[in-house]
Symmetry: C2
Subunit: 267 residues, 2 copies
């Protein structure tokens, strides 16, 4: 099993990613696609008069403030606009894609953080009207059912809480959980950088290899949204995924290059 995670950034070469997926499926490689959509969500939230807000957890991670209206806009973009864009591109290329969120069939299931302890401008706050959580279980039965019937699952946040609420979950960590659940050969995380950079955004400082035993040490080089990607990678290798690759999604043959050794290879 190969799990491909694509960001929501606009610089990604979507047609190149689709072409690689077609080739991999022709070679009978089992795969699952997981995508994000943060950039477009910010724009749509702005346009709909509910601008994005970000909060910092006490442990220093930044995440989207997800009240009910933000959740609705999140679902519009992730599950509507972007999920169906991927499914349409894949269907047009002859891949029988089925797009679902982590809420559907509880594919990504976990706990809602019903009290979110955060810092806003240095002040401590407890938010109770936030729909955010962490994936703890993956519904591999449903995914296997689809894979065995020849479909390509195209997955996206949100996930489902234990009580069935929609929760905003991190897409990179969700992809890591999927890879772990299937004991995947590789999790390929494509974004608009060539990999993990020692001095972000200087692309000449690409870190080429990270031994699995030392993945934790490299957290120091992860800036901004890269933090959760590295956290997902650390979790994935700890859970038995053979290899996690951060690679460039803006180039020709982005998946093939990643599998051929480009980008940052962890494992």
């Amino acid at each position: 099993m190969l799990v491909i995670k694509v960001g929501g950034g606009k610089e990604l070469d979507i047609d190149a990613i689709v072409a690689d997926i077609v080739a991999l499926r022709q070679a009978e490689q089992a795969l699952i696609l997981v995508h994000g959509g943060a950039e477009t969500t910010n724009e749509v939230a702005e346009a709909l008069g509910h601008p994005p807000q970000f909060i910092t957890s006490e442990s220093g991670y930044e995440s989207r403030r997800t009240d009910r209206r933000a959740l609705e806009i999140f679902e519009m973009v992730y599950c509507g606009q972007i999920n169906k864009m991927w499914v349409e591109k894949l269907q047009q290329a002859g891949v029988d894609a089925v797009g679902m969120s982590g809420l559907d069939g509880r594919i990504f299931e976990g706990k809602r953080k019903d009290k979110l302890r955060v810092r806003v401008n240095g002040r401590r706050l407890v938010l109770r009207d936030d729909w955010t959580g962490t994936v703890e279980r993956v519904n591999t039965d449903l995914l296997r059912l689809l894979l065995d019937a020849g479909y390509l699952p195209v997955l996206t946040p949100p996930g489902a809480s234990d009580s069935g609420e929609a929760i905003n979950v991190d897409g990179d960590r969700a992809a890591a959980m999927v890879a772990a659940a299937f004991q995947a050969e590789a999790l390929v995380i494509l974004s608009n950088v060539p990999g993990l950079l020692r001095n972000f955004p200087d692309e000449s400082t690409l870190i080429r290899e990270i031994p699995r035993t030392r993945a934790d040490d490299f957290m120091q080089f992860a800036a901004g949204r890269m933090k959760k990607k590295v956290m997902g990678a650390v979790e994935a290798v700890a859970a038995g995924v053979r290899q996690v690759i951060f690679a460039d999604g803006r180039v020709e043959h982005p998946i093939r290059r990643a599998l051929d050794g480009q980008g940052t290879q962890i494992g």
Copy 2:
């Protein structure tokens, strides 16, 4: 098999519909839910600066002008906001719902009208940049796979063209095709009217029964969006669906009432 179609109108009693679905599933009734979203799509399109436009075909049917941006907004609302709202409500009520569009796995497949002959203010026009079509086939294999595994499919437009493009298809007629494909006992179409009215909007003029052989004659009473609902009903009974019921989705036990003989019963 029971196919339930719910409109996208805001007056629907969603919790009452969910409660009836829970009861039907407990009674081991096989069912599929299909929903719309036109009203909210109009609002979001307006808010995003791409106001809805409607066109009239040469045969007199009104439909949404669906250029690429309108299609994207359509997908945001139907597949994102409204589909996930239904899935979340159902998951919270203990129903393992899986939301998909007709594009996913080509559940609703048909022809894109690549040249759309329309009248705009009396003038004839041919539109070539419109993504509209009609459902001709239903992927019952994928739906059966999910049903047999205990999931409730929650379906919504768009559909897929033969070449995999997303196409705006009418939700009522798509639901009729699903009911026909499964030779359903009943197709229940819930909206914000008590059924087909002889003098719309006078609710005291409800038509209680339409014999299947005379369904065509009743087209004259269908105003506006009701036209396609009646057309779907005519197609469904012709294709072997035992009964089509137009019923009120704003009341307690809307599905049970419909099955107990309320609304307009065709068949």
